[in-house]
C-alpha cells in the first residue's frame, strides 16, 4: 500500500469536519412551507366575532395572514408591529385564531387591540393543518389572487418587517401593477 493511501483517512476527516461545521449553521428548525406559490386552502368558517367567511372574503390586494393565539407569548411580542401596520393601513391583515378558545381570544383582542380585518376561528386547528402550520406565530404573505407567496415562522418584529416583508411586498405590488 503506497504512502498516499495512508493520508486518505486524514482527508476524509477534514472533508467531514467541513461538512459538519457547515451543518452547525444550517440546522434550522424552520420547515419550508409547501404552499409557496400555491393558492390559499379553501375554507368556509366563522370568525371570532361569529361572522361567516370564506375565500371570497379575503382582501383583493396583497395581505398578511397571521396565525395567532391568546396563549402565545411571541404573538404578544409581535403584536405592536401588527397594530402599527393596521393603524397606518399599510397592508391588510387577516388573522387565524389557532387552537385557542373563542372567549379567551376575544378578551385578548380587547386587551391588546385588534389589527385584523377579521380573525378566522380555528379552535380544532384543522385550517392550520391545511396551511401547514406547526406552531403560532406564523405569518404568510398572500397576493391579490389568494396565492401564498411567503411564510415567516416565529416573531415578526420591526426588523423582520423592514428586512424581509417590506421589500417583498413592494416587489409584489410592483409585479401586480405591471400586469
Amino acid at each position: 500500500m503506497n504512502r498516499s493511501l495512508a493520508f486518505l483517512p486524514v482527508v476524509a476527516f477534514l472533508v467531514l469536519a467541513v461538512v459538519m461545521w457547515r451543518g452547525l449553521y444550517l440546522d434550522s428548525k424552520e420547515l419550508p412551507s409547501m404552499l409557496i406559490d400555491k393558492p390559499m386552502p379553501a375554507f368556509d368558517k366563522l370568525t371570532v366575532d361569529g361572522q361567516a367567511v370564506d375565500n371570497d372574503s379575503l382582501p383583493t390586494e396583497p395581505f398578511l395572514l397571521n396565525v395567532w393565539g391568546s396563549y402565545c407569548l411571541p404573538c404578544l411580542i409581535e403584536h405592536p408591529t401588527f397594530m402599527r401596520l393596521s393603524e397606518s393601513a399599510e397592508i391588510p391583515i387577516v388573522g387565524v385564531n389557532y387552537r385557542d378558545q373563542k372567549a379567551l381570544a376575544l378578551d385578548w383582542l380587547e386587551e391588546n387591540g385588534n389589527p385584523y380585518a377579521f380573525s378566522i376561528l380555528d379552535e380544532p386547528g384543522r385550517f392550520g393543518i391545511d396551511l401547514g402550520v406547526y406552531g403560532a406565530p406564523e405569518t404568510y404573505l398572500v397576493d391579490s389572487k389568494g396565492v401564498i407567496r411567503y411564510r415567516h415562522v416565529s416573531v415578526l418584529d420591526e426588523t423582520v418587517w423592514r428586512e424581509v416583508f417590506e421589500p417583498a411586498i413592494a416587489e409584489l405590488r410592483a409585479q401586480e401593477a405591471a400586469q
Binding site: P32, M34, R126, G128, G132
Partner: protein
C-alpha cells in the same frame, strides 16, 4: 498447564470490582421504572387492521414541531391534531398512500421518517448496497491474492530456463512417480 503463574499478575484483582459494578448496573437498569410523557388518545376503530394502520402511520410520521419524535410519541399540539386527522382519514377509507400524500402537501418530506424514493434519495437507499458490493469486491480481491490466482509466472531468461528444463528432465528420469504435488 505449564505456563500458569498462579495469581495472574493481579488480573483478577482488577477485573473483580469492574465485574461487580457492571453486574449491578445491568441489574439496576433493568429494574428502573420508566417515566414518559406520552399522550393517551382513545380513538375507536372498526377493525384491528385500521388500528394497526393507525399505529404504523403515527410511528412513521414525524411531529413537525418536536425535536425528533414521531406522531405517536409526541404530546405537542400539532401532533395531536395530526393524529386526529390520520384517524379521520382511515375511517373515511383513505389509503395509506392518500394519507401520506395529504401530509406531504402540507408539511413536505420532513414529515416522513421513511424517506421517499426519488432521484435525490437514490444514494441514500442504495448506498448500503453499494458499500456492500465494494466491500465484497475488496474481499474477493483479498481471497484471490491469498490463493495466488493472479500470480504472475516468474520471468526468467532463456539460459536459466534451459537449466531448469534440464534439471526437471533429470528429476523425471530419477524418480518416476515420485511427485510431490
Amino acid at each position: 498447564m505449564s505456563n500458569d503463574t498462579g495469581n495472574g499478575n493481579g488480573w483478577e484483582k482488577r477485573a473483580k470490582p469492574v465485574l461487580i459494578v457492571f453486574m449491578l448496573l445491568a441489574i439496576v437498569s433493568v429494574l428502573m421504572p420508566a417515566t414518559s410523557l406520552a399522550q393517551v388518545d382513545t380513538f375507536e376503530f372498526e377493525t384491528p387492521e385500521q388500528q394497526q394502520r393507525f399505529r404504523a402511520l403515527s410511528d412513521e410520521l414525524r411531529c413537525p414541531m418536536c425535536q425528533n419524535t414521531s406522531l405517536s410519541g409526541s404530546t405537542g399540539g400539532v401532533a395531536e391534531d395530526l393524529r386526529r386527522e390520520v384517524h379521520r382519514m382511515i375511517m373515511e377509507g383513505m389509503s395509506d398512500e392518500q394519507i401520506e400524500q395529504f401530509m406531504y402537501e402540507r408539511y413536505g418530506d420532513f414529515i416522513f421518517y421513511k424517506p421517499r424514493l426519488k432521484p435525490e434519495t437514490l444514494l441514500l437507499w442504495f448506498g448500503p448496497l453499494l458499500f456492500f458490493l465494494i466491500g465484497a469486491f475488496v474481499l474477493v480481491g483479498i481471497w484471490r491474492k491469498a490463493k495466488g490466482i493472479d500470480a504472475q509466472p516468474v520471468q526468467v531468461d532463456t539460459e536459466t530456463q534451459t537449466r531448469i528444463d534440464a534439471l526437471i528432465a533429470e528429476q523425471g528420469k530419477a524418480g518416476a512417480g515420485n511427485t510431490h504435488r
